[in-house]
Amino acid sequence: MNAESNFTKKDFTPSGEVKWCAGCGDFGILSQTIKVLSETGKSPEEFAFISGIGCSSRFPYYVDTYGFHTIHGRALAIATGTKIANPDLSVWVAMGDGDGLAIGGNHFLHAVRRNVDMVCILMDNQIYGLTKGQFSPTSFRGQKTKTAPLGTMEDPIDPVALTMGLNGTFVARTSDRNPKHMHEVITRAYKHKGFSLVHVLQNCPIFNDGAFEKESNKETRADATLMLKQGEKMLFGKESEKCIVSTGFSPKVALVADVDEKDILVHDEHQAGLGHFLAQIQGENFPKPLGVFIEREAPTIDQEYVTQNNSVIEKKGRGTIKSLLEAGDTWTVG
């Protein structure tokens, strides 16, 4: 993105070995992230990678920037402090579906709401990997895991729909098996000023292999995914023979042949209403939309703090210990 970046992927790759299982989807996410970093033109020191606990949360050890591998579920709260304290850092958070949406759910809610300027990469394998295979908030109803031997009894969270419900300012989804697309989406997320959610469909070959096979497999993905492209019709299928139309307030899949061309929806990232509409594209009857659902401008809390403080300092001048203590109602003895 920055034509004359002086850095290469090597500059962002630490020496230590990456300890994910062979075939783990996290590898692909890592390499695309490092590619994007190397293209920003920023030096490695200008980035802070923060994570909680989980396989995915090992991320910070695998990028040669400043990194903080914290505790389960708290990455966003910690990153919020980091970013508000030092808005000059480019802050990135890597989280798993359990880390970010189970124990970390509350911090997710409020980081989105505050529009803290950071990139949040949610590596969603619909399972707890590090603890060896329990269900997560994104596991599908009925999924059999060690803690749900007869299948789970709850509906999953759709991270995109949730973030839309919180009026997120940048919401996107991509897949570990589609490097080009991932690279494009992560680049967009980096460029967005505000909280950028990148929901990545990630395969865990060990504990939940094939969870996203439909969406990833070259054979099937044309039918199982919907690639959102700004200004373009929402077509999918091998021959782009299928499309999304609206039935008033809900989306519907149709055959291009069967519908009036102008009824086929056209994607517009900047139309909040459409984003909310697309967030309903969940579940078996729909292709999974990949791409940027929405991007909009809004104040970020980190900059708001700078603005408020500066306005006061301009008015009153920078405080000193003397001005601090010798204030209010004072009196002198002797």
């Binding site: 020191e45 708290r74 003895v333 002797g334």
Partner: protein, 612 residues
């Protein structure tokens, strides 16, 4: 106008203001406090807010109270039993009358003693609260305060309700006259406060003067009283509550360290006002952030500390319980962090508006694994300022989270604060490493054993830390010996702080080493007064009060050896005592109370007398 009365000298006076939340008792008390402080008395105050939810006006749960003691010497506490009770309605009278000293004054608003109000206060139908036997041995001044106030303001063009609202200044006037205190302070304050609404200022001033005249002329009082100025250390003073002092201490520490302050917090009684105080100082580029909960509060602070800023979080007991896991992260990553716990009554929600000292063990041990953190305690409202700076000094110098314990009594109570000169404050030198050569995340300063602080953004020093055990290079290590060594190193680092703190001071009795009364935190004043009394009586009773609890001052063992009997006074079931017993194998005699307030002198002597 009758003869000027003679003026009697007193060495100290205790006044309790009591009325409905709407009666402005906190304000009245603060005004009287300000005036007597300005005249040079030592003054200690304590508000008593109604518990949790505001109750119906006129009922006892609705009562808001404010007690203050002023004297010609260090008074140390707001006093046990009032010389004067201001009771703005029957409920206030009923709730407080039993505490008033024999022959003490009781000033009430007779206009409020209607049947309805008397009933609301919970008196039986047929009793007259002001009837002699119900106020036995008290001097009752039942003044028609409301009606007098309204009468006084008859010429003002404003509704009765607004006029009546001035009545607390009538009461204040009575007290100013009674204790021969000039109203100048309050008059000036009123003019300032109502600069934009001069009429309100005039109204209140008129009522204030009327109150003084009433006191002088009503014939209720046989004399006036005067409390001479105390010989306080010369200098500039202001009155601070403990929570204000903590807030000021944090901002001051940030200036001393040359690092901007980040406070990650979440409201909780009685700690919220620390956040509210700090939030004022945007001119110091303070970033005070109200997060979504206590966990996010401490986590955001950890994120800011890791980012290279001066970070703090504050809360009360339940909040500390929630922060425990994250504090462990600060311990293992060795990040500087100040944690202030304004303690309240527990367990669980417990008695949130009452004070207690029952979070000491939680401060010591409320985390998983071997997770040592220095623990400090402040002993008076003004001391909260100095101990906050001390906590900051230790955190920044030793790269460690530090817990400072205060409590609701300190947080809400106030006393004169001698404003220090910047040059008399400790230097908090902070060096953040910038030299990339040979950096290792867990290499330690040979003296402090602290690891180095690197600010993200610094060229050439990109590194990763985290909650997993690390070796000296900062690499994750599952090596058992390395873990054993790191656990012991972290413990040693904190223990070593004993070489860098003040010795335990003893207020030594010249009359022998029979008894040492040990305390910590807000019980200082009441223990101090008792010990003074015993020493004046020629008894071998001495006092030692801990400001540093973990690690203990180095001389603690020697001090303990010296005395025949060690009494440990705490507002809990005994939390400092077991630490002393385990560390020094010394016998201790418990003096415990869990009643939401520090000891009265009597509660202490009841125990000590049996030991002498």
């Amino acid at each position: 106008m009758n003869e000027p009365l003679k003026i009697q000298e007193l060495d100290k006076v205790v006044i309790r203001f009591s009325g409905d939340s709407g009666d402005g008792m906190q304000l009245t008390g603060n005004q009287f406090t300000g005036a007597s402080a300005h005249r040079g008395n030592d003054v200690v105050t304590l508000p008593d807010f109604p518990a949790e939810i505001r109750a119906t006006p006129g009922t006892i749960p609705g009562i808001s109270g404010f007690q203050m003691q002023f004297g010609d010497h260090a008074v140390n506490t707001p006093g046990d039993f009032p010389d004067v009770l201001v009771a703005m309605n029957p409920a206030a009278l009923r709730a407080n009358i039993k505490d008033v000293k024999k022959d003490g004054f009781v000033i009430t608003d007779s206009d409020t003693f209607t049947e309805a109000m008397i009933k609301k206060a919970g008196y039986a139908d047929d009793v007259d609260p002001l009837d002699a036997e119900n106020v036995l041995h008290k001097q009752v001044i039942a003044a028609p305060i409301t009606s007098q106030t309204i009468e006084t303001l008859k010429d003002f063009d404003i509704d009765k309700k607004s006029k009546a609202r001035c009545k607390n200044f009538f009461t204040l006037g009575i007290l100013f006259w009674l204790y021969d205190i000039s109203p100048a302070f309050t008059i000036q304050w009123l003019k300032g406060k109502f600069a934009k609404k001069p009429m309100l200022a005039d109204m209140n001033i008129k009522v204030l003067n009327e109150g003084m005249l009433f006191a002088q002329n009503s014939g209720h009082f046989q004399s006036q009283y005067r409390v001479q100025p105390a010989d306080l250390k010369p200098g500039m003073y202001r009155s601070v509550t403990g929570n204000e002092a903590c807030g000021l201490g944090l901002v001051a520490a940030s200036n001393l360290a040359g690092l901007d302050l980040f406070l990650g917090s979440y409201p909780i009684t009685p700690a919220t006002t620390v956040l509210e105080e700090v939030a004022k100082y945007k001119d110091h580029n303070v970033k005070a952030v109200q997060m979504e909960d206590e966990i996010a509060g401490v986590c955001s602070a950890i994120g800011a500390a890791w980012a290279g800023y001066f970070a703090c979080t504050n809360t009360s007991g339940p909040g500390i319980a929630l922060k425990g896991e994250a504090l462990g992260l600060a311990v293992i990553t060795e990040i500087p962090l100040v944690v202030i716990n304004v303690q309240r009554g527990g367990p669980s929600t417990g008695l949130p508006t009452k004070t207690e000292q029952s979070d000491l063990m939680q401060a010591m041990y409320g985390r998983n694994g071997e997770s040592p953190m220095p623990v400090l305690a402040a002993k008076t409202p003004a001391d909260c300022f100095h101990m906050t700076i001390e906590a900051s000094r230790i955190a920044l110098k030793y790269m460690t989270p530090v817990i400072l314990l205060t409590d609701g009594y300190l947080g809400n109570g106030s006393e004169p604060f001698l404003i220090p000169d910047e040059k008399d404050l400790p230097v908090l030198k902070v060096t953040q490493r910038t030299d990339p050569k040979g950096y290792q995340s867990y290499a330690r300063d040979p003296e402090t054993l602290a690891r180095e602080w690197v600010k993200p953004g610094t060229p050439g020093l990109a590194n990763r830390v985290g909650g997993l055990e690390k070796d000296i290079t900062g690499a994750i290590s599952h090596d058992p010996e390395n873990h054993d060594e790191m656990v012991r190193l972290r413990a040693k680092k904190v223990q070593n702080i004993e070489n860098d703190i003040a010795d335990l001071e003893v207020l030594q009795s010249p009359h022998g080493d029979d008894i040492l009364i040990i305390g910590w935190g807000s019980t200082y004043g009441s223990i101090r007064n008792s010990v003074d009394k015993y020493q004046k009586e020629g008894k071998g009773v001495s006092q030692a009060h801990f400001s540093h609890i973990f690690p203990f001052p180095k001389n603690t063992g020697d001090v303990l050896k010296k005395y025949k009997k060690i009494v440990v006074a705490e507002m809990n079931l005994g939390q400092l005592a077991p630490l002393l017993r385990a560390t020094y194998l010394t016998e201790t005699i418990p003096l415990t109370k869990i009643q939401g307030s520090p000891f009265t002198e009597k509660e202490i002597s009841d125990v000590i007398d049996t030991l002498i």
